[in-house]
Assembly symmetry: C2
Homo-oligomer: 221 residues x 2
């Protein structure tokens, strides 16, 4: 019975996600859903990513947290439109649902946007289950989290198109088998794009930015 | 309506949690619920903690993951009883519910156990909402996750009795304001016990082990 209820919630979400998808297609906006554990470096990665995309690709961000505007404040230094969603208004939700994205998008001037980035709530489990009408999904995984995460949280890696292996600047100081991590990612999602980056030093950003630009431009064309 | 359903699930959980609590009181078993983000170092911390408690405090572990037995395999080197719960049998649950703990405890010889440690699913959100009948809750937060997590995931820090600030061995290599992190923890939960530890080097373990031992012995007395 409990499962039945969850399915109903997910069915309603899928319907709302399709509405978002049609709307974003009409508006010619590419939507990127960025997910990860808390503290993987999503916000820093996005600040640096947006700085490299501007002014060629016009960006906006919807950022989800249970509470606080810490991430929105950090993202606002890029000068792009930022909407902070606090899920504690909906009972402390651990993910962003499609209707929340639909509402948040109403606060954004979509005419002035090519790429709408959604920084999801920090959680490697639940956000993977909720379609928000996005064009692409990316998971950020910091090397300090260990090599085994793709095997332990497989749905997240299955639903994402690319994995950003972040904080590579810390590799000299930790015991981390990068080959094993990439192997685990590819075991769960064969052919997945994997980018090794350091959001701090911006090492490895070029291929990631190229990958993203290519997809955005394809939709805008 | 969605909220009503969630409340019902939580009500049933609270009932099952009370059943667990009575049972663990009868059996004279102290139950510790350990929660954190994925990759904070819960398993390493527990392996080192158990090694220091044995043979004085007899331990057992219930470890929750969506799938895989990676953590159970790592914990089994301590020689204690370990039960791995894979929540993908219940739809990939992002937390351990009270009835799951009740079932898992049936596989453990509780007569031979003083301290039952529950290593919850890696998630800084949902596990905080589910009472499992534990005596104490602890959150592990690695310094690589940033100083702001208590402000962004306040419920977790509110429901826990102690915070383990882990991976302090990495402090020389990251920009981290430890004082700000502790201040944020205490802002959310005044008086909370905070232990700075490195599960890798075991630096800072003594006060944490003393804190835990004291609580276990008080219940066994």
């Amino acid at each position: 019975m409990e499962i039945k209820v969850v399915r109903k919630v997910l069915d309603v979400n899928d319907m709302m996600a399709q509405q978002n998808r049609s709307r974003f297609a009409d508006e010619k906006v590419f939507v990127l859903n960025v997910m990860s554990s808390p503290g993987s470096g999503k916000t820093t990665t996005l600040v640096k990513t947006i700085s490299r995309l501007l002014p060629e690709i016009k960006c906006a961000v919807i950022v989800g947290d249970i509470c606080s505007t810490i991430d929105a404040d950090r993202l606002s230094v890029t000068g792009v439109q930022v909407v902070q969603v606090n899920t504690d208004e909906f009972g402390g939700d651990c993910h962003l649902a499609a209707h929340v994205i639909g509402n948040a998008a109403n606060s954004i001037d979509l005419d002035a946007v090519d790429l709408l980035i959604v920084e999801n709530v920090g959680n490697l489990v639940c956000p993977a289950e909720f379609d928000i009408g996005e064009d692409s999904r990316v998971v950020v995984l910091s090397v300090t989290e260990g090599e085994d995460k793709p095997l332990k949280y497989p749905l997240m890696f299955r639903v994402c198109d690319a994995a950003l292996l972040n904080k590579t600047d810390l590799l000299p100081y930790i015991e981390y088998d990068k080959e094993a991590a990439v192997k685990n990612i590819l075991q769960i999602h064969p052919g997945m794009s994997v980018f090794e980056i350091s959001a701090k030093t911006e090492e490895g950003f070029k291929p990631w930015i190229m990958w993203l630009k290519e997809r955005v431009k394809k939709k805008l064309a």
